[in-house]
């Protein structure tokens, strides 16, 4: 059994028009699972603590499909280079040196875009995508968490 992309699009529309958040489909050894973006948030957060300040609850129930109008992070052309570990983020190889990259710099997947210091150990952060640096999010010398987005890269198509 297989599905064409057109059929998948049709099923996706069915989900969007329904009042459900998730759809699992199994046909022989083919498995398809679809989830509205934002559905995970709604189902785990809502019953727990209603005072959770983020995520306005309005769109959770029956609002317009959240898929298309996703925030910047969801833009498939934008890649976020995230902190591989917690530590102090530096944009330059040493104090006073030029930063590894600036907004507008062309980068390859393996280009070093920063370093993270953990107890005097320097760990390099690589771009992880080919493209152009479009935004630098983390401040030089700041403590960054594991997984924190440090900069965004617009992929070359």
């Amino acid at each position: 059994v297989s599905l064409t992309s057109k059929e998948v699009a049709e099923i996706t529309r069915l989900l969007e028009d329904s009042s459900f958040d998730e759809l699992y489909l199994e046909l022989g050894d083919l498995k398809l699972s679809l989830k509205r973006s934002g559905a995970a948030l709604a189902s785990t957060d809502a019953p727990m603590q209603s005072q959770a300040p983020q995520a306005p609850p309005a769109s959770a129930a029956s609002g317009p499909p959240a898929t298309g109008a996703a925030p910047t992070a969801e833009d498939p052309r934008l890649h976020s280079a995230c902190a591989p570990l917690l530590g102090t983020f530096y944009r330059a190889p040493k104090p006073g040196a030029l930063p590894f990259v600036e907004v507008g710099s062309q980068v390859q997947e393996s280009t070093v875009v920063g370093i993270i210091e953990v107890m005097k150990l320097m760990n390099t952060v690589r771009a992880g995508a080919n493209g152009t640096v479009s935004e630098i999010l983390a401040r030089d010398g700041a403590l960054v968490e594991y997984g924190e987005p440090l900069l965004r890269i617009r992929r070359t198509s």
Binding site: T44, D45, A46, P47, M48, Q49, L85, L86, G87, T88, E117, V118, M119, L121, L143, E145, Y146, G147, E148
Partner: protein
């Protein structure tokens, strides 16, 4: 020094517990959480949460450098390690000492002294605290000599071991050489240390431990004992204080032995000295010292009225002991049931997942330490402890009755728990009589299984 900001390097119910005391004391809390715990209750309660790494403990909660870096990054004065994870790793205490961060616990040297079982054994002997007959063995000949002296059954243990690994029971002295060979290779592979020691195997032992507080300068007080004999495969399930069916004379000897041991180390902070009680001989032996706050500390808090986490913090600040021994007057009785996400029907298999409903008991004399509410997740990466239900009352009978009601009033939906098993323990005549040994849970399980399958012996 006054601690104003604490980094909590732990998760689950103990993180919630530490935050609660810090709040009361006006101390800011920063939680170091793994990716799996970012949205859990401790993260909601802490003033700030830092993600220190992915779900796997080895990449987050066990990373000494990441945790110290996090503390430095947020300018925390101190780190509270909770229990488990890095709480007894001297590496964290040492790095804190080097970086000028207060480690809320003993010194790195004290952690090393109690972490090495042979070293702890010899410290106990030096403090005139009885140890299980036995000793270090470096050859089969020496082992046979000791074995003939103390007699079978025996236990061969690994110096670097723990949790039952590298441990072999020997029924007859002739079996000793083969058991030693096996234990040494197992220990060498598991701990990189194949040193062994030998102990008499005590069959009908009770596990009784004494809570102590030390100021780090030789002053030590005790806060009475806890009985933790209700355990399955070395995992405690239910604890109570005071230990039932114990003569006052034996009780006092236990307390004094624990204080002597901690004094010998100039112990700093809260700690527990564990003993094995030989019911037949009315004797007790030093097992080990736990150099941290323990899971079961609330039963001691319930009968003494002392907030042990607050005392840990005061000692770490250098305030010393704020209570004299004469001011510790245990009153009444307390019991704790550990509610685990595990399925007794499937050999206590872990059952993590979404908790669709959680209703905890409440009322006078009831305390629940938990990180779980309706809609919470029990992540599959860590231990299965969800909550601790602690009940206290004037005497053991009413404590037991109240605990049975508390367990019956608890509802957990969506995942399997051991609540029904707790109900079975509390309903058992031997447990109700008090003073069971560590074989109790095994007997209860095989008895129950035999009954369920129409077995031929009860």
């Amino acid at each position: 020094v006054q601690i104003r900001r604490v980094l909590i390097a732990n998760r689950g119910e103990i993180a919630v517990r530490i935050i609660r005391t810090c709040r009361r004391l006006g101390i800011e809390t920063v939680l170091a959480a793994s990716e799996a715990d970012r949205d859990a209750l401790p993260a909601k309660l802490a003033d700030r949460t830092l993600c220190i790494g992915p779900a796997r403990a080895a990449d987050s909660y066990l990373k000494v450098e990441a945790i110290v870096q996090a503390a430095l990054g947020v300018a925390a004065d101190a780190i509270h390690p909770g229990y488990g994870f890095l709480s007894e790793r001297s590496a964290l205490a040492k790095l804190c000492e080097e970086q000028g961060i207060i480690f809320i616990g003993p010194t790195a040297a004290q952690l090393e002294a109690v972490g090495d079982k042979l070293r702890a054994r010899s410290e106990a002997e030096a403090a005139d605290v009885p140890v299980v007959p036995g000793g270090a063995v470096d050859s089969v000949e020496a082992a046979m000599r000791i074995a003939r002296n103390i007699g079978a059954p025996l236990l061969v243990k690994a110096v670097g071991g723990g949790g039952g690994r590298g441990m072999k029971a020997v029924e007859r002295v002739q079996e000793l050489p083969a058991a030693m060979e096996l234990a040494a290779s197992e220990a060498g592979a598991a701990f990189g240390d194949s040193r062994l020691y030998l102990e008499r195997f005590i069959d009908h032992g009770r596990h009784v431990e004494v809570q102590v507080l030390g100021d780090g300068a030789g002053e030590v007080i005790h806060l009475g004992e806890r009985d933790c004999s209700v355990q399955r495969r070395y995992q405690k399930l239910l604890e109570e204080a005071p230990a039932p069916a114990l003569s006052d004379q034996l009780r006092q000897r236990l307390h004094h032995a624990a204080v002597r041991f901690a004094k010998r180390l100039n112990y700093r902070g809260a700690g527990t000295v564990e003993f094995l009680l030989d019911r037949q001989r009315e004797a007790f032996y030093f097992l080990e010292m736990n150099a941290r706050i323990q899971v079961e500390h609330p039963v001691t808090e319930a009968i003494t009225g002392v907030d042990l986490v607050a005392e840990q913090i005061a000692i770490a600040e250098g305030a010393g002991l704020r209570l004299a021994q004469s001011e510790i007057r245990p009153r009444g009785c307390a019991m704790e049931c550990r509610v685990n996400a595990e399925d007794p029907a499937r050999d206590f298999h872990p059952s993590p997942g979404l908790v669709s409903e959680a209703r905890w008991p409440a009322g006078p004399g009831i305390r629940v330490d938990t990180y779980i509410a309706s809609g919470s997740q029990v992540p599959p990466f860590y231990d299965s402890l969800m909550a601790k239900i602690i009940v206290s009352a004037p005497d053991r009978g009413s404590t037991l009755a109240q605990m049975r009601q508390a367990i019956a009033a608890t509802r957990v939906g969506g995942i399997a728990t051991n609540l029904a098993f707790h109900a079975a323990i509390l309903a058992d005549a031997e447990f109700q009589a008090g003073g069971v040994d560590t074989g109790f849970v095994g007997r209860l399980l095989s008895g129950g299984a035999a009954r369920a399958s129409g077995g031929n012996h009860g």
